[in-house]
């Protein structure tokens, strides 16, 4: 199989349920499974708990693959003062998603092995053993999709790298450190009372009196609603 075909089979190859996890490495210890489960408390049903447990009990990527993934993610999003992809547990997320979305397993594994094929061909060593400049040479080949083509029309290795970039970015920006870096300040009880004045000013916007007169007066939010017979709020 030539390179192009092999990547094609990576990208198109979604595996059937029958061979699901075939190449995943089993044998995560019960202790570790328990520890992982207790980390994620998010209101699961019994069925969902069992599904998560099943995935936690499988190790999909071997140590070398995990090391390659980690280095790749670090190049995609290098550490800064807020944190790193390690703090954000991006490699763990990729490991989990490769089981949660079964087609990812083969896709990601084959992409990793291809990366090593490139590096062995060019530098006679595997990707993680190359220095950073050498590693970036490979990335430069894959990191820039053609803006005029749809994602499925991109070269296969470009598609693979886009997937890794997406997983890295979403992993980082949905983590504690990433959310802090982004500056998202919601998901907390508050009394929302409109767009801040300086923001309205920035856009040359203002609330119209007629509209705002209909809106909630937050100082009265705890007064029990009472209406007259025509539906006019009295409180």
């Amino acid at each position: 199989m030539d390179r192009r075909d092999s990547i094609k089979s990576i990208m198109l190859g979604s595996i059937g349920v029958g061979v699901l996890f075939e190449s995943c490495v089993n044998g995560v210890s019960n202790e570790e499974i328990k520890k992982t489960i207790s980390k994620f408390q998010y209101g699961r049903t019994e069925k969902e708990k069992a599904y998560d447990k099943k995935l936690f009990s499988i190790q999909c990527f071997n140590k070398k693959e995990m090391k390659t993934i980690t280095q790749l993610c670090n190049l995609i999003l290098p550490p800064n003062e807020f944190g790193s992809i390690i703090d954000a547990e991006v490699p763990e997320l990729i490991e989990f998603m490769a089981k949660d979305i079964p087609s990812y397993e083969t896709t990601i594994k084959n992409g990793l092995s291809l990366l090593n094929q490139f590096s062995i061909k060019n530098y006679s060593k595997s990707f993680i053993d190359c220095n950073e400049n050498q590693q970036k040479e490979f990335l430069d080949e894959m990191a820039y999709p053609d803006p005029d083509l749809s994602s499925s029309e991109q070269k296969e290795e470009v598609q693979w790298f886009s997937l890794m970039r997406n997983l890295t970015m979403t992993g980082y920006y949905t983590s504690k450190v990433g959310i802090k870096e982004l500056g998202y300040v919601g998901n907390t009880p508050n009394v929302w009372d409109g767009v801040p004045k300086d923001v309205l000013d920035q856009y040359g916007l203002s609330y119209e009196k007629e509209w705002i007169d209909k809106c909630v007066d937050q100082s009265k939010r705890n007064e029990t609603a009472v209406w007259d017979n025509d539906g006019n709020l009295l409180t």
Partner: protein
Amino acid sequence: MQIKENLKEYDVIIVGSGAGGGMATKILSEAGLSIAIVEAGPYFDPANPDQMTQMKWAYDSPRRGRGTTRPFGDFDQAYGGWDIEGEPYSQVGETQFRWFRSRMLGGRTNHWGRISLRFGPDDFRKKSIDGLGEDWPITYDDIKPYYDKVDKLIGVFGSKENLPNDPDGFFLPPPKPRLHEMFYIKGARKSNVKVMPSRLSILTKRINNERGVCFYCRQCARSCMAYADFSSGSCLIFPAQKSGGQIDMFVNSMVRSVTTNEEGKATGVSYINKDDKKEYKLKGKVVVLAASACSSARILLNSKSKQHPNGLGNSSDIVGKYLHDSTGGGRMAFIPDLMDRKIYNEDGVGGMHVYSPWWLDNKKLNFPRGYHIEVWGGMGAPSYGTGFNVNAFNKFFGIPVGGYGDVLRKDMRKYYGSLIGMDGRGESVAMKSNYCEIDPNQVDEYGVPTLRFNYKWTEHEVKQAEHMQNTFEEIIHNMGAIALGNKADKSSNFGLTKPGEIIHEVGTTRMGNDSKTSVVNEFEQLHDVSNVFVVDAGPFVSQADKNPTWTIMALAWRSSDYIIDQFKKQNF
């Protein structure tokens, strides 16, 4: 097979605990009637920490919230979806109907958008207006007192607008518009599309001491631990229990059929306990079906007997017919003005603060029914998918897309919160040829025969979807935004959603005065069997361009009053 029979005879057995079942439970139990609720899913209380997803962060989930097991994401409070393992359904021909079920106490009311719109006077007489479908046997004036009562009992924010077909109610005050919503207002007005505060059943103000007030986390889809949004458990069933109602709850119990006697009257229900997979029977003087339009039709069709050979209440052969869902269409856009915007908390309530009711006259258009526009966007909480294609909008500026390294951080920050979306939700025309029926070849894992669907959109819906796409494009242009993706065209039915996808399926047991052309009367009572009622969206004759929940509850309350009256007259 041994069937276990419960010796107690209830006054009323209510099948399903969503909007209709919850309302029937509250009204009937408060009248002193003994009630059995039979629910196919587990017990659910939004305040139960073991079930709660509200205020969780993406990183509390190992998949960062992705919708692997729940179609709207890990934190959405609907146990189920369009596809449920062990509970299949099938399609006839090219039908692509999608049937969403939520198996839990409170059903789909735990996760819905809380868009709480009254039908207007015209919505009950569409045949008189455009000659299509059928008029309802009731008018707006018949249902108005019940809409008023639902507003006051449950709470809905909105504003007085004096529109002829979008009646005002007893509103709590709405929240102020968000920034992207102000861009929408600007664009829509330039296109002569009316915009007004949205109408959602979320408490922006206290309505009683049992329920909390909204604390603006934008997570109503996760069901509110403070009971500050409407869900059937928190607002109807739990209060009914608290006020001393005689209510027995049978959860994880899948109703197979309504049982009947020699005279053809209902005697109760038979159900499968999902835990032991055994069949049980409950006795009741009255059976109220509130299992959702398609589930109630399925139960009726599966309730065949010597007296009801075509299924219960189906002498007309209308059960399952006239199934219809809302139409749907949407478009996303990028607002360049919102690049690198200041970040502040703009969560707000769970849903839009502004929307556009239907604003045109169909007499001047090439399709018969209207749609409203919902708006979304802004600085939402990061979850799985955030950061995907982080700098795809670079292409609008001729800058390279993709890359790696610190530049991605800047791109993430630059484009965060610059997206806006519009969704049209419209009225379809109810067709007799769109229906669900029992699949003779399939049963679910409990041995209950399943449904199969026959559904085809008509030209009316396709033309409406085309109009939506043109409207979205114009509004996007007028707000200074850039439309994303290609405009949906004829090859994709102009982006029209598949039937069932909007999860407003109604009409399968439609009401009417003529027992030959309808299944229930105006009190949602089967024409054929006086002690069986259907109080979900099955009895809808047409569903308007309004979301169905508020009308389900107003009708369920009206029918419950009728049931109480019939009990008083000793008719059961």
